[in-house]
Symmetry: C2
Subunit: 334 residues, 2 copies
């Protein structure tokens, strides 16, 4: 089968080299990667951020993206959430025997495009092939390094009472796109993943304010879980207002149909920012000028009360405690 | 099932946090990891090396190691093969639903031990869980960064005619340990993987000589494939002598039984060094004083003839061209 992945593509021998030369380098070529040594070399100085994430999303192609775009954006975003400028990524693929080479090319094309948009280079890689039935099509793990500009100190532990909570746009888009695709749901409007690199949005926010305390992208577990993490890490309370949280009409409809709460549905192109109240408005204004922050909103504030917990003022008036996700909403969402 | 991995352990919610707090942090704790931000922060300066590798070895426990030790050593070694001192690793696990927590703990223990020996910290991590039958037990991807000391310039492209080729010890140990375990072969002597971190061996070699041109660990594809890679990358010929290549008696016996050539069998604790002939003897002497280099030998030299190819003088006298591995010797060897 000339059109699909063979076990020998993972042997480290001739076919492995051919795979790298014909299917990876044409998309990713850069001087550091082209050396094909055991590790890639780059110049660094100062504080660096380092992160890793595995991607097992099912299906691997979905409206708004695919596993390749997701893997690049996810790792870029994890770096950006520490205020870092992402520079270099590594890419490790675990491929099931029989995977179509045409699908691999499509994914490499999408990796190339996402890396170009985020202005990162993929300088290290690895490929393993497992027998049919020992993995589901394709898993990708990306790691990344980036530089943290002087003076930037962003951490989930830095929220202070009085800070404002900003959200960069609508929630639930990625999760509902995957779910509707997987369950074969048909809606009159297409649900599309929000999968996007947020590093430029973050650097623009940092240009207008040095008082950004926390940044986090609400992926698995959704906005509710992310806010709970931040409340615990900073040992503060978070108070949000349901009516201020943007949700697309079609996402809300799909959630209602399936009995889901958009607060727990995964996002792949959104961020939560906790910022000094004095700078909140100008940060918000700057976010709204970026494509990925057009619908940004101030959704709440940090409080001294109910430390470690998130309280939400509901549409109907009263407040309720919003907990982390318990159980599993949807396996293999990212 | 309290004793095994559930899909909810990969949800990003409560059980994910519990898994990190109870099963990962107790083994890996360090200040950078403990922050639990989206990325870890470290200080850097100068030239850095960056690498990644996925591990899908089957079985996950084998004589001489397990997938955890392999993942740490493999990435440490890839950094060391550029002359870098490994500093920080990331660890991304893809786990099959139902995987035993006791096995996970055993693997974490072994990761901790290997990281301590190599003096690296694991500062970033991720866990994904996939449904039963969608992965085989556990896959681990490790990435790593390290610093390259000033003046060190090691690359597969740096071999020059006249250089000597050194090998740090016996070949085929890892591959035959996996194969005998998997095929249920019984030998009178136990075959054990050579899985080991080689960074200290490399730094000791660099202490006695600045004229180390290439380093590479002959993993998948074995010594033959690695030498072919180096011959191509440097556009030189490599001439080796079969009688100088150390092979354990039990490995040779197992290879003969299975009709395999040890030249193509994977190693996980060996390195090939191509060095200036003037320094070869003192580098060899230093290697032999390290546990992982006790059986080091000079196995050949770099030539201007047969560029891009490896020629081996056989036991019987005549030379033959030794090619890269073609096909697949053994899937999921690492």
């Amino acid at each position: 089968m000339d059109d699909s992945i063979l076990l020998a593509h993972g042997s480290g021998g001739k076919l492995s080299h051919e795979l790298v030369e014909k299917k990876f380098l044409p998309f990713l070529a850069n001087p550091a990667l082209n050396r094909l040594d055991d590790s890639a070399v780059f110049e660094a100085s100062g504080r660096m951020a380092f992160t890793t994430d595995g991607y097992v999303v099912n299906p691997i192609f979905f409206p708004g993206g695919d596993i390749g775009k997701l893997a690049v954006c996810g790792t870029v975003n994890d770096l950006a959430m520490n205020g870092a400028s992402p520079l270099y990524l590594s890419l490790s693929a675990i491929i099931e025997e029989g995977f179509l080479l045409s699908d691999l090319e499509r994914i490499m094309q999408s990796i190339k495009k996402a890396a170009e948009e985020a202005e990162v280079s993929i300088i290290a890689g690895d490929t393993k092939v497992v027998n049919r039935g020992q993995a589901d099509k394709l898993f990708i793990t990306t790691s990344g390094v980036g530089t943290i500009p002087t003076g930037v100190d962003i951490s989930g532990a830095n929220a202070r009472a009085g800070d404002k909570v900003l959200l960069s746009g609508t929630i639930g888009d990625h999760g509902m796109a995957i779910m509707s695709q997987r369950e074969g749901l048909k809606f009159s409007m297409t649900l599309e993943s929000d999968c996007a690199p947020l590093n430029k949005l973050v650097s623009q926010m940092l240009e207008v304010s040095s008082r950004i305390h926390c940044l986090r992208d609400p992926t698995r577990g959704g906005l509710a879980t992310t806010l709970n993490e931040l409340a615990r890490q900073s040992n503060v309370g978070i108070a949000i207002e349901e009516t201020r949280i943007p949700v697309k009409e079609e996402v809300r409809a799909a959630c209602e149909l399936l009995g889901l709460d958009p607060l727990y549905v995964a996002n792949e192109g959104k961020l939560v920012a906790i910022v000094d109240p004095a700078d909140a408005d100008k940060i918000l204004a700057r976010m709204r000028r970026n494509t990925y922050g057009r619908e940004a909103a101030i959704i709440g504030k940090i409080t001294k009360e109910h430390r470690g917990k998130v309280a939400m003022k509901t549409k109907l008036g009263p407040s309720r405690i919003v907990d982390m996700l318990t159980g599993e909403l949807l396996p293999r969402i990212c």
